[in-house]
Each structure stands twice: as structure tokens, then as C-alpha cells.
């Protein structure tokens, strides 16, 4: 293998699994360390800069960081990153707004329109306001937040938490046009904005219009996202006792748990695929199960059955999943009799669609066969140069943190576009390497690896929370429990940097490494090298750190997979060939050089 190029910032970035997995690349280990030092406001700010909504995301994020967490491979469970984020948001100094960037009084003369007031648009506003842009925000709702407001039930995300963080941005001086549904892109283009950002989400819930009985039973069948919005805005306050929720995503989980709170006693989720393939996050499935909601998998709906002018139930076909040699799934009937599940009402949460009926075909914005805009995947620019897309509107339904990441990229693109600079000359990420050694055994970071297991988050009693849909279920960590949880972090941002020219090949690091990840071996192709290391190196998603040839002709090979970042290699090295250096990585922001 060729020697690893550690000059490329992406190498060490990849080692920080959580940060790398986060679409917005939040510096997770750094903010967890700040929490362990009780510097909650500093931790909040680090989050705010990168993910814009720490209080919201600390509750409802899809948490791509947690399955990636190295602790989950070393032990059993990852660090509770998401809940720690909430801890710093809960304990932040309310004067935190003083740390926000100043908004220049003198504007730069560029006007931007944001269509839709969801996380993507708000991020664009947050990034562009400090640069002097004039920003107009349009949304059909009466307040900002987009689907975070209309679809996330209050028992998961209290409205005040959302409103506070949305207002942080609006208070920067965004001109809001609420209760204003944009009906025509042509009209928007005619207003003479320098750039337009479309962050309208994926607003249409998929229906099962082809199923027999669908029309006759319409009064008892609801589209999930519309129904959730109806509940949140107070238009819907009850539901039948027996409810079937069709679908296996997070919306389905929100629907079934909301139904339990509106009077549903026998609420069941029915999903086409096997349980393991459900799209919903594991923890959301668990919380639904805890609220006595069974999940019935491998059932495909066949027909809505109406008896005596009323919905009686739904008929399902039993299936099993078969996979071809390419891993593609097919659901095949088991040949058994159809199953009839009686119910009073049905909620459909079987997916969301993008819809842009308000963008006229002659505007110059091209769409692909799936009805999605044709975009440059990096710059998010559409075929009409001054129009950009982000969030669910760009590539179909994803999640909040992805929308935020899109917002950052779109803001960079818009800033470059408005300055007549090429969109591919994007600012570089900010990186920094800082040595951590203070003495032979003294480090600037807490290098001790605790054995503490993942802390459980306290919850409100089920009997109580099921009676009040506004009552938040999770109570969040208190400071003490949060501190214990924060210390579980393995500090993956503190990198093991190897200086081959100093190594005398004494093997001390390889001997001392508790997880056997350091090796001194003859070089070879990657596959061959992986087979010759002390411990199996089967995790191909994790890099091998390979040095230049050493004195004996061997190379140092470190499998990054389960490195504890415990500093023992550096402490046992007689020549300081191993160095512990904290790698700070922050994605580029609009306006940076």
C-alpha cells in the first residue's frame, strides 16, 4: 500500500466516525468534551455553528452519528450523542445570543428569496444574514419551522424549543412572509431576487388510491403527514379506538404514538417489509413498542373493507422477502389466506412525494423523471442558475440534519453566485492539529477509557404521557448522568500521528496497544495486509494507516477500526514517533475564503 497521506484533511476527518457520518460534520467529540467540562454554552455554540438547531436536533435528529460511533464497535452501545446535544441545549446560558454573529447594518445590496421556512431555508438565512444579505422568507404556515413544526409531535419536540431556535434566525432581520403560499415561480422570478432558494420539502403524503375500497372508506382513512399537521394545529382531537397505521418509517411511528394519545386503544402498525428492514430509527420503534403498539411485518394491504357503510378493517396478504443475487428485494406471497385486521380508522404513512405544481414548466427549471429538480449534487444549483434547491425538495425525503447540510452548501453557492465567482471554487474546511502532550503521562484531554455503559434517559411515566400529547416523553439527562455519558466518548478527534523518521522499531507501541491495532509488517496490497495483521481487520470501511518504509524495510500499519485513542502508544514510545494531536475540522461556511 502507498503511505497514508495525512496532509489530506479528509483522512483524519474519516477517523472521527461520528463527525464524518454527520451530514453537517458537527465536531461531535469536541462538544462532548466541552460538556464533560461543564462548558454547556460553548458546546451549544459549537453545535449551533454547524447544525443550527441543537435543541431541536438534540431531540429528534435521525442520529447518523450514533450507528457510526466507534464505541459501538468496541463495546456494545454507542455514546448517546444526540441526548448529550440536548443536555448542552438544556443547560446553555440564555444570553447565548450575544455570541451570535453581528448582522451588518449596511446591507450588501443582494436580495435572496427563501421559499419554505423549514430547516434548509432557515440555515441559508442563518449563513447569509451575517454577510449582509437581505433575505425574504416565504411560507404558508403562520410561523417558521416547516415540517419540524407541522409534523413532529409535541411529545417529541415541544413547540417552545423549536420556536426559540427558529427565532434566533428570524431575529437576525429576516423579512418573513408567513401565511403566504407561493403559487408561482414565474412571479417569484419576476420580483428580481439575486437568487432564490427552494426549501419546500416533500409535502405530499403517498396514498394507496388503487386499493379496492379506498374511495368508499375515505372518511376513515388519513394521510399521515396531513393528519399529524391536523393534530398539531388543533383541527383533529380524537380518533377511533382501533387504529391501523400502514408504513414503517419514522412518520408511521409518530402517527401511531400520536394516535395512542388521541384515544386510540388498540393501535397497530402494519408494514410490508420484514421488521429488520423498516426505515424507522431503532429507538423510535422501541418507543412505539413501549407504548403497547405491536408491529406486524410482512403484510401487504390488499383492500379496505367497508361493511354497513362503515370501515370494518383492512385485508392483507402475507408475504416473505426474497433477495436475488444483486441483493434486490422481492416480496413474495406465502400463499396463505389473506389476513383481515378489523379497525375503526387507518392512517397511511407509506412515504412522501415531492410536488412542485407551482413551478411553471417554462421557467427553465428542469425536472427528472422522478419529478425532482435536476441539480448539481454539490452546489445544489438548478438548471436555472439563480435558483437553488435544498432539503427534502432537492433529492426527496431525508431528514433535518441533511436539510441543514444542504442549507450550508446552498448558502456557499448563493454567496459565490452573487459575487460572480465560479461555484466550484468553494471555501476549504477549517482544520487544525494541536499537540496534546503535557508530560510523560499528562494529556490535555481526558484519555482515560471508562467502562461505563450507555446511560438510560429518564422518561415520563407512560400512563401520564399517553393522556397528554403535549407532554414531552423524554426528560433528558441531568448534568451528572450527562457527565458520565460524556466520558464514554473515545476522543476520536485526538489523532495518533506517526512520525516514521523517528521510529526505532522497538515494538513498544504494538505491544502496549490494548486493542492490538498497531503492526510492523512487510508491506503488501491492502487485502493481503489486512489478512496479516495481529487482529482481524475485516472492517473495510475503516482505513489502514500505513507509514513509509522504516529502517528494517517493514512498514507501520495501524487499523483505525477500534483504536481507543487512549494515548498508550504515544506514552510507550521512546522517541516520540507517536504523537497525539487533536484534529479540529469544521466544514466551510459561506463567506469564508
Amino acid at each position: 500500500m502507498k503511505p497514508t497521506d495525512t496532509e489530506n484533511p479528509e483522512y483524519f476527518h474519516r477517523v472521527i466516525d461520528c463527525q464524518y457520518a454527520c451530514p453537517a460534520h458537527t465536531a461531535v467529540p469536541e462538544y462532548i468534551r466541552l460538556i464533560s467540562e461543564k462548558r454547556y454554552t460553548d458546546a451549544y455554540m459549537l453545535n449551533w455553528v454547524s447544525n443550527v438547531f441543537p435543541g431541536v436536533l438534540g431531540r429528534v435528529c435521525d442520529r447518523p452519528c450514533e450507528p457510526a460511533c466507534r464505541r459501538g464497535r468496541v463495546e456494545e452501545e454507542p455514546v448517546a450523542i444526540c441526548r448529550l446535544k440536548r443536555l448542552c441545549a438544556d443547560n446553555r446560558d440564555l444570553q447565548v445570543t450575544r455570541r451570535f454573529p453581528r448582522i451588518p447594518r449596511e446591507k450588501n445590496g443582494k436580495k435572496i428569496a427563501l421559499i419554505g421556512a423549514g430547516p434548509a431555508s432557515l440555515t441559508v438565512a442563518r449563513d447569509l444574514m451575517p454577510l449582509g444579505y437581505t433575505v425574504d422568507l416565504y411560507d404558508e404556515q403562520e410561523k417558521g419551522g416547516g415540517f419540524m413544526r407541522s409534523q413532529l409531535p409535541s411529545f417529541r419536540l415541544p413547540e417552545t424549543v423549536l420556536a426559540t431556535e427558529v427565532n434566533y434566525i428570524l431575529d437576525m432581520g429576516v423579512t418573513t412572509h408567513f401565511n403566504h403560499r407561493v403559487e408561482s415561480m414565474r412571479a417569484m422570478l419576476d420580483k428580481g431576487y439575486d437568487a432564490i432558494f427552494v426549501g419546500t420539502g416533500a409535502p405530499r403524503g403517498r396514498d394507496l388510491s388503487d386499493l379496492p375500497g379506498r374511495r368508499e372508506a375515505d372518511a376513515w382513512i388519513h394521510i399521515g403527514i396531513d393528519w399529524l399537521a391536523g393534530v398539531i394545529f388543533g383541527h383533529i382531537s380524537g380518533i377511533g379506538k382501533r387504529v391501523l397505521v400502514l408504513g414503517g418509517g419514522n412518520t408511521a411511528m409518530d402517527c401511531c404514538r400520536t394516535a395512542r394519545r388521541l384515544g386510540g386503544e388498540d393501535v397497530r402498525v402494519v408494514v410490508r417489509s420484514p421488521r429488520e428492514e423498516m426505515k424507522a430509527s431503532v429507538w423510535e420503534i422501541e418507543e412505539a413498542l413501549q407504548e403497547d403498539i405491536p408491529i406486524i411485518d410482512n403484510h401487504v394491504p390488499l383492500a379496505f373493507v367497508v361493511e354497513h357503510g362503515k370501515l370494518a378493517g383492512v385485508q392483507f396478504e402475507r408475504v416473505r422477502a426474497e433477495y436475488d443475487d444483486q441483493g434486490r428485494r422481492q416480496l413474495l406471497s406465502t400463499g396463505e389466506e389473506p389476513v383481515f385486521l378489523p379497525c375503526d380508522e387507518v392512517i397511511l404513512a407509506v412515504g412522501q412525494l415531492n410536488a412542485f405544481p407551482w413551478i411553471e414548466p417554462d421557467t427553465g427549471i428542469a425536472f427528472n423523471t422522478k419529478g425532482l429538480p435536476v441539480l448539481d449534487p454539490l452546489t445544489l444549483q438548478s438548471s436555472l442558475p439563480q435558483v437553488f434547491f435544498g432539503g427534502d425538495a432537492a433529492f426527496g425525503p431525508r431528514n433535518i440534519i441533511t436539510a441543514v447540510a444542504h442549507g450550508h452548501e446552498a448558502a456557499i453557492s448563493i454567496d459565490l453566485f452573487c459575487n460572480n465567482r465560479p461555484l466550484d471554487e468553494r471555501p476549504a474546511p477549517q482544520v487544525n492539529l494541536a499537540g496534546q502532550q503535557m508530560g510523560v503521562h499528562d494529556w490535555l484531554y481526558d484519555n482515560r477509557v471508562t467502562d461505563t455503559r450507555r446511560q438510560a434517559v429518564p422518561m415520563v411515566a407512560k400512563a401520564k404521557t399517553l393522556k397528554d400529547r403535549l407532554l414531552e416523553v423524554e426528560l433528558g439527562f441531568d448534568r451528572e448522568v450527562g457527565h458520565d455519558e460524556a466520558l464514554r466518548c473515545l476522543n476520536c478527534d485526538v489523532q495518533t500521528v506517526f512520525h516514521a523518521e523517528l521510529c526505532i522499531e522497538c515494538d513498544a507501541c504494538a505491544d502496549a496497544c490494548p486493542v492490538s491495532c498497531i503492526n510492523f509488517v512487510e508491506n503488501g496490497p491492502e487485502e493481503d495486509l489486512r489478512s496479516r495483521l495481529k487482529a482481524p481487520a475485516a472492517n473495510l470501511s475503516q482505513a489502514l494507516y500505513v507509514s513509509v518504509p522504516l529502517g528494517t524495510g517493514k512498514v507501520m500499519v495501524k487499523d483505525e477500526n477500534v483504536c481507543l485513542h487512549c494515548s498508550i502508544c504515544a506514552e510507550r514510545c521512546p522517541t516520540a514517533a507517536w504523537e497525539m494531536q487533536k484534529f479540529f475540522y469544521q466544514s466551510a461556511r459561506a463567506g469564508q475564503p
Binding site: 477509557v449 513498544a508 490494548p514
Partner: protein, 350 residues
């Protein structure tokens, strides 16, 4: 502060044939200087015991005094241990071995502990061919007292301060071969690929397995002009030949028709296949083994690997014809069989 090791190990490491994990053979975290060769030897011992699937509670580790002799704290944390008086490890090992011949004895000593204060002890353990593995962590200097030359420092070797050693050095391997040790080897702490199989072979050999391991003292004796430095040893060593050690439990699949391969079967049925140079010495011949050592010494080359192996090695118990049962398990009834057998013995002499 890192004075303890994290408790996590690589999750994909498999247990050995006896169901033990490698961590079951580990000890505490080392407090030796960073980079000490002794740490590598400790890990080679751990690897060897793990790979041979020896039950940790069947091993007794013994040592004297010195940097080397504190190392039993860093390996085999679940085995029996005895940290004895300076240079007296062989006596303690002899006593323990006499009392319980069933345990596996692993003695660890240094060049000072063996070649100076313990010389009288070492030579007699070799004479008796005591059934134990005797590892000398040989750095050619007294690390605990700031690096003065020890008795194994080569004549002409230069210290970190620039002093030249004027005295003749003691070659422990040569002495051991001369005095009757059944298995004698030399290795280098920086070469685990050779050291681990050597220790495994030593542990399987019946009789004294003496392994002299050159182990650089990074703090006091790792300057380029020292003959016990990483650099010097790597530049000036030559292996007797590569070898394969096949533990007796394993089916022997190797079939060497070649006459460059010397096959030596050990007491427990394990086999060592030595791939030697065509005109290399016969390692089962004591004289050739000593000549081989002297020849290389004259050329300024350190010869490593198995130096001598006696396939018919007889240990102290064999020589003295002691009870096959460990003495510590003999009861009063066994030791004092009563008047009738005594009468019979007496009658036989009338």
C-alpha cells in the same frame, strides 16, 4: 494519567484451544522505560503461552532482581509467581520444581541477575538440566543503576557516555551448552517472529530451555556503538536458519524430504523443523554448536535461533530418579509406609 490499561480488547480476537483469551495471559501495565526491549519479551511470552493454550494456573513464573526480574508483573497475571532474592531465581525454581514437578516453570532473569550475582546459581541449574524455561533479558548493562557495563557486555562495546568495555564478556549460551542444558537459543527482543516460536519450543522442551534474548536498554545502552542496541543487533545478526515449531497436538502436515531440514522431536511429541544452511552445523551436536557460536563471534556476527538441542534431554527428576508423583501430593502414608515395608527393605540387606 495512564497507569492502567483500558479494559477493552479487540472484539474480533478469538480464544485459544483451551478457551482462554489473550487477555487472560496479560499482566499489569508496564512501568519500565518506554521502548524497553523487556516489554517486547513480555509480549512474546504472552503470545507463546496463549498460542500453546497453556492453562495460566499451570504456570509458575519466577524471577530475581533487576529491570528484567520485575517483568513478571507485566505478564501471566493469573499464574503463580515468585520474585526472589537477587540472583537466586534458579534455587527457588529448583525447590519449586522438586516439590511439584507438574507445573510449567518459567524463570526470568537479567544479565546482572544471571551472569554476575547469580552466576553460581545459573551454572548449577544448567548442570542439573532443571525442567524449566530460563529466559535472560540481556541488555549488557545495569539499567537500574544508570547503565554500567554488565558481565555480558561485549569487549569493545561503547557506552552512551563513550566508555569502552575493556573486559571479556560472558557468553551465557556457550556456558549453558557446555554445562548440559538440553535446549539453548539466542534471540532478539525486536524479532518476535523468531522469539515467539523459540519460547514455545522452550516451553515444550523437557529439561532446561535456556533462551538468551538481547534486549536493548533504550535509556542507557541504545547508542549506535553499543553491541546491544537495536541498530547494532539488526545490522550484525544472522539466524541459524528459520525453523518451524509444531506442537504435539497439531497434525504434522509438513513433509520435508530435503536434507537441509533437520527434524528434532521433543519429549512431549512436538517437532522442530530447522531449515539450516546446507553446510551449517548439526545443532544436536554439542561441539559443533559451540564451534558455531565461536565462529560467528570471530566474525563479529551475533548468531540467533536454536543453537543447541539435545533430543535425549534428561531433566533433574530423570537423573535423580525421583518419584513420578509430585512430592507435594505425597501423603504421610506414602512417605511412611509403616513397619512391614521397612522390615522388607532391611531384610533385603541382610
Amino acid at each position: 494519567m495512564t497507569f492502567f490499561r483500558p479494559s477493552f480488547r479487540h472484539p474480533d480476537l478469538q480464544p485459544n484451544a483451551a478457551g482462554f483469551h489473550r487477555r487472560d495471559y496479560e499482566g499489569g501495565i508496564s512501568t519500565l522505560c518506554a521502548g524497553c526491549g523487556h516489554d517486547s519479551i513480555c509480549n512474546a511470552i504472552i503470545d507463546a503461552c496463549f498460542e500453546l493454550a497453556l492453562p495460566p494456573h499451570r504456570i509458575a513464573k519466577l524471577s530475581g532482581i533487576g529491570c528484567s526480574s520485575k517483568t513478571p508483573a507485566y505478564f501471566l497475571g493469573r499464574s503463580h509467581g515468585f520474585n526472589s532474592v537477587h540472583g537466586r531465581m534458579p534455587s527457588i525454581a529448583t525447590g519449586a520444581n522438586m516439590a511439584n514437578r507438574d507445573l510449567i516453570y518459567l524463570g526470568v532473569s537479567g544479565d546482572g541477575d544471571t551472569a554476575s550475582i547469580g552466576m553460581g546459581q545459573f551454572v548449577h541449574a544448567a548442570r542439573r538440566n532443571l525442567n524449566m524455561t530460563y529466559i535472560v533479558m540481556n541488555n549488557g548493562c545495569y539499567g537500574l543503576t544508570k547503565g554500567q557495563f554488565s558481565a555480558t557486555a561485549d569487549k569493545g562495546s561503547r557506552s552512551k557516555q563513550g566508555n569502552v568495555n575493556l573486559l571479556e564478556s560472558i557468553d551465557l549460551c556457550e556456558l549453558a551448552i557446555q554445562l548440559g542444558a538440553g535446549f539453548v537459543a539466542r534471540s532478539f527482543s525486536g524479532d518476535k517472529a523468531q522469539l515467539v516460536p523459540l519460547i514455545k519450543a522452550g516451553l515444550s522442551h523437557h529439561g532446561l530451555s535456556f533462551i538468551d534474548v538481547i534486549s536493548p536498554c533504550v535509556t542507557f545502552n541504545n547508542n549506535p556503538e553499543s553491541t546491544k542496541s537495536y541498530h547494532w543487533v539488526r545490522e550484525h545478526s544472522e539466524a541459524t536458519g528459520t525453523f518451524d515449531f509444531v506442537p504435539f497436538r497439531q497434525t504434522i502436515t509438513a513433509d520435508y524430504a530435503d536434507d537441509t531440514v533437520q527434524e528434532v522431536e521433543l519429549h512431549d511429541g512436538s517437532v522442530i523443523y530447522l531449515h539450516k544452511h546446507p553446510d551449517g552445523p548439526d545443532i544436536t551436536d554439542r561441539r559443533q554448536a559451540i564451534d558455531n557460536l565461536e565462529d560467528h563471534k570471530a566474525q563479529g556476527v551475533i548468531i540467533t535461533g536454536v543453537l543447541y538441542l539435545n533430543p535425549d534431554s534428561r531433566d533433574t527428576h530423570d537423573i535423580l530418579n525421583t518419584s513420578k508423583r509430585p512430592l507435594n501430593s505425597l501423603t504421610e502414608a506414602d512417605l511412611c509406609p509403616g513397619a512391614a515395608p521397612l522390615e522388607a527393605v532391611n531384610a533385603a540387606h541382610r
